[in-house]
Subunit: 336 residues, 2 copies
Amino acid sequence: MVKARRFIFAKHFVGEPKEDDFRLAEEELRPLKDGEILVEAVWLSVDPYMRAYTVKRPVGTTMFGSQVARIVDSRSKAYPVGKLVVGHWGWLDKSIVDVEKQDFTGLPKPYIIPDFQGHPESLALGILGMPGNTAYFGFLEICRPRAGEVVVVTGAAGAVGSVVGQIAKIKGCKVIGFAGSDEKVKWLTSELGFDNAFNYKTEDIAGVLKTAAPNGVDCYFDNVGGKISSIIINHMNEFGRISVCGSISSYNADVSKMPEATILQPAFASKQLKMEGFLVTRWSDRWMEGINQLLKWIVEGKLKYHETVTEGFQNMPKALIKMLRGQNVGKAVVRA
Amino acid sequence: MVKARRFIFAKHFVGEPKEDDFRLAEEELRPLKDGEILVEAVWLSVDPYMRAYTVKRPVGTTMFGSQVARIVDSRSKAYPVGKLVVGHWGWLDKSIVDVEKQDFTGLPKPYIIPDFQGHPESLALGILGMPGNTAYFGFLEICRPRAGEVVVVTGAAGAVGSVVGQIAKIKGCKVIGFAGSDEKVKWLTSELGFDNAFNYKTEDIAGVLKTAAPNGVDCYFDNVGGKISSIIINHMNEFGRISVCGSISSYNADVSKMPEATILQPAFASKQLKMEGFLVTRWSDRWMEGINQLLKWIVEGKLKYHETVTEGFQNMPKALIKMLRGQNVGKAVVRA
């Protein structure tokens, strides 16, 4: 018999998630049926959306999320033993997966990861996976950047923001990033080619924007929401576009008492701004288009990546908490 | 010699505009040159945007705005004496107008008003003019309402909001309006056919929304911004659309200390909302399309209107102040 472990969402988070909000459960797995595969997690993902999504989910359910897993048994011809697949079946170290069953996420069904040409397979959870496509589609389709425009990214050193800024550079834009530590800021400008980057915790946002974007901001890719977003949006040019990817700054807030920030409507009306939120599932039918383009840019040396690796499946909660505290540079992953 | 009066923007407003923030000046007009017309104001417009736009304009300039005027002398064949024209040359009772000169507003150049089929010519400043087109294009082009959807309008009894709600009804939507008095609320439901209307000053916004829109809101036409908008936006459905026309609630605020309200980004990201601000000048090249459609609906009895008339050119400041206090129902105009 195969023993499998899973993390249960045991308590609703109050403020920052704590380790005892999760419970590790163990079970014996039954034999496979036709159309199923048995997979063993190799890499697991922790992402900011996990903090937000738990709010509406009942306690007692398995923590959701994506992983790269090796197929160790198979009763599906399309999924041979030994291959690595990407799937969204949650925080489990071993899983029985019905490969045809659509899960609740709206993401593509489990797929065998393509040839990453020597780059690590963990990228299937980052720049060559959901976060990469979030950056690719969410920035290009909603901001529709033009060469020469000024682009601002918050959460710029995260898994999504770091890709957005580099895509903006590829498209010929000037890129300004905001991140939460001097180390991240240095990485953005010295490694990733951002034109400017600032530590939002120590800098005067309005002041640095005036200097770095004296003619205003055309596109804003918003990972954080809240007060910093109000300042950036009030510094935008006519017909500016804002892509709302997330709202990390408020994820730990009580949903019945969301934070306040300077209102946006005066800037929207006078400057004819446009803001759109999105979920990457909107582009599920174009998934491999994004992955292939991002891989091409990596191979050409135009896109760089960094991963912050936590060792051990049992440390999933720790990895999530660290990432939500901003202690990652680039994509946060767990090696099972 | 012809004597003309004009209102000068004499002092920047602090909070609510006051009568002595304006100065009435008198001058003698020179003879006409070729291509010019002499016009005498018949109806003048006071609009919410006037409060917002003064902020960036120097004191000492003539107050801007639209009027319906009679041509009393002409050196332009296309503009014969006796005709009524709409123009944007400001708070003047008599004006010399170079009909070919493009003004700063971005609105269409002066035009002779079409046959309103018995309806008053003052409508060229309201439902058959800039506010009507603001409703027509700003709602239909940005919200893109579909039959059966739920539409919320704030500032619903104003010159723009009252038209938006009626267009939404024509398009088969359910319409909920918010306005600032019980009298306005009654007008919206009993005269204009709104499904529901509420006095935002006395009702619990979140509570009435839950009852009137139990399945959520699809389109929001926002005239007011601020706290009420945050509540409405947080009650929207996936892929909801928000058209930002104005931000009346903050027009009297100090621009360096804009009000705060509950942040919008969490709802934007999770529900994939879209919000766009606009100026009606964006559709200047389709101006008569809007006017003709609105006139057709009026003639068919599908669109109703109401005007709040102030008598006397000298009372322009009073009329503006009253309108900004919300003491108008429908369009506020001044009879010169």
